[in-house]
């Protein structure tokens, strides 16, 4: 039993067909529980009022926006090294999902920033680096669309993903230079006793779990679609040959 078994599209399709409904159900359970708990059963913050509840969408989306790129990086590396098509297709499938998470983080951030900072947008290092991340996602998706040969597209986007990762980190430190952050630093970390007050923390954890599961579900679903597209193309090609 190893992870490489799933490089076989047939095996992947069989397993993901079983896993998909469970993942979808778990996503729904986590998100409904987390969001309802967060929105209706937590007290208002003493300073921020009820706007603090945006945290249940903003933080998980931002977390997953970055992690989606990391997942794409891992999948791209696996494709470049071991040439497993499922891996390349999973990276392709994750692109639009990651872009959506980035946009959710940006939009909820703007909605939160308006009452708190008095502005929808500021050229704050964190905000700027997320905008750049969105551009990276756009470029990645556009390159997949533009190249016709699927193997060439997979190779080129993998190279772009690797180079892009380095530059995303570089940009992050470059914009730090301006030193005019409105956005607070990292609040959540694993090694602290209490990150934020427990009443907010537990529903937030539930929402983060929900977003992770949602990412998993969407990527599985989209990868399955991509595999089916490949199969249809192969069938069409065979018919043309005959």
């Amino acid at each position: 039993m190893s992870i490489w078994e799933y490089a076989n599209p047939k095996k992947f399709m069989e397993t993901s067909a079983i896993a998909l409904p469970w993942a979808a159900a778990a996503t729904a359970a986590c998100l409904v529980a987390g969001l309802v708990w967060g929105f209706f059963f937590t007290p208002d913050d003493y300073k921020q009022g009820s706007t603090v509840k945006i945290i249940y969408l903003h933080v998980p989306a931002a977390l997953m926006a970055i992690n989606a790129w990391l997942m794409m990086l891992a999948a791209s590396l696996i494709w470049l090294v071991r040439r497993h098509h499922v891996s390349a297709l999973a990276a392709k499938a994750a692109g639009p999902v990651g872009l959506t998470f980035t946009l959710i983080a940006l939009v909820t951030g703007a909605v939160w920033g308006q009452p708190m900072w008095g502005t929808w947008w500021a050229w704050d290092p964190r905000l700027t680096s997320f905008l750049i991340l969105a551009l990276f996602y756009l470029g990645y998706i556009a390159l997949w669309q533009a190249v016709e040969n699927p193997d060439t597209a997979a190779d080129l986007t993998s190279v772009l993903c690797i180079v892009g990762s380095v530059f995303a980190v570089l940009s992050r430190y470059a914009v730090n230079f301006w030193n005019q952050g409105l956005h607070q630093g990292a609040t959540l970390s694993l090694d602290k006793e209490e990150n934020i007050s427990d009443v907010f923390y537990f529903p937030l954890l539930l929402c983060i779990g929900g977003f992770v599961l949602m990412f998993l579900t969407l990527v599985l679903l989209r990868t399955r679609t991509e595999i089916r597209v490949r199969r249809v193309q192969a069938l069409l090609a065979r018919e043309r040959m005959a």
Binding site: I132, L135, F136, L138, G139, A142, L143, A146, V147, T152, D155, L156, V159, L160, I162, V163, G164, F167, A168, L170, S171, Y173, A174, V175, F177
Partner: protein, 218 residues
């Protein structure tokens, strides 16, 4: 490799068109911005470093698709790929040629345009230094973008989209160096980081570009 460099330079100069365009564009930006913003010298002095860097960056972007396109169309890129020098070397030479015909003239003409934009006198030296250090990075990164899109029919828009986020660190540090220089502050940190980026991309990105060219020629 030197023969290849000379060939590329000769082609760029004699085929004309594409590379003069960058300079003309840079000039246009420097003339149009004061017309649009208004002639107050204090405002212009404040935005001059940013405008000059953005102008140089966009001017650089204009000629990127020509790095590989012509060679790809007439098949000489295939010959270069099978030549005894490694493709990484070819790519590096292409980037160097692009820099000599765009980055270098942009750098040399920049003090003249800085005059139009009323850059404070203390900034001139740092403008030259930062452009001289930073534009090679623009050429090398642009070569990577051009290598990714070389096989595409209309890669121009995609090329700009791919390259734009990659240009961010260079632009931030370059403009920051000039701004600090113009205000009489210490420029060492942004200038060193700029030089670091240039050295880093010049050393590493040709490998990625060569890989992309190989994939496209397959």
């Amino acid at each position: 490799m030197i023969a290849l460099l000379i060939r590329d330079l000769r082609l760029a100069l004699r085929a004309g068109g594409g590379f003069g365009l960058g300079l003309a564009f840079f000039l246009l930006v420097a003339v149009l911005v004061p017309l649009g913003v208004g002639p107050e010298s204090a405002t212009l002095a404040k935005i001059a470093p940013g405008i000059l860097w953005v102008g140089a960056l966009l001017a650089c972007l204009l000629s990127l698709d020509r790095i590989f396109a012509l060679d790809y169309e007439d098949g000489s890129l295939d010959l270069l790929a099978t030549a005894p020098i490694p493709l990484e070397g070819v790519v590096a030479v292409k980037a160097a040629a692009h820099w000599i015909v765009t980055g270098l003239p942009l750098t040399l003409i920049s003090p003249l345009l800085a005059l139009l934009l009323n850059l404070p006198p203390a900034g001139y030296g740092w403008l030259l230094a930062s452009l001289a250090l930073g534009t090679p990075a623009l050429s090398v990164i642009g070569t990577f973008g051009a290598a990714l899109t070389v096989g595409l029919k209309r890669g121009g828009l995609l090329l700009s989209l791919l390259v734009l986020p990659l240009y961010v660190p260079t632009l931030v540090f370059g403009a920051e160096a000039v701004r600090r220089g113009a205000e009489g502050m210490s420029v060492a940190t942004p200038l060193l980081l700029l030089a670091g980026i240039t050295a880093g991309v010049a050393a590493l990105l040709p490998f990625a570009s060569a890989a992309a060219v190989r994939i496209n020629l397959r």
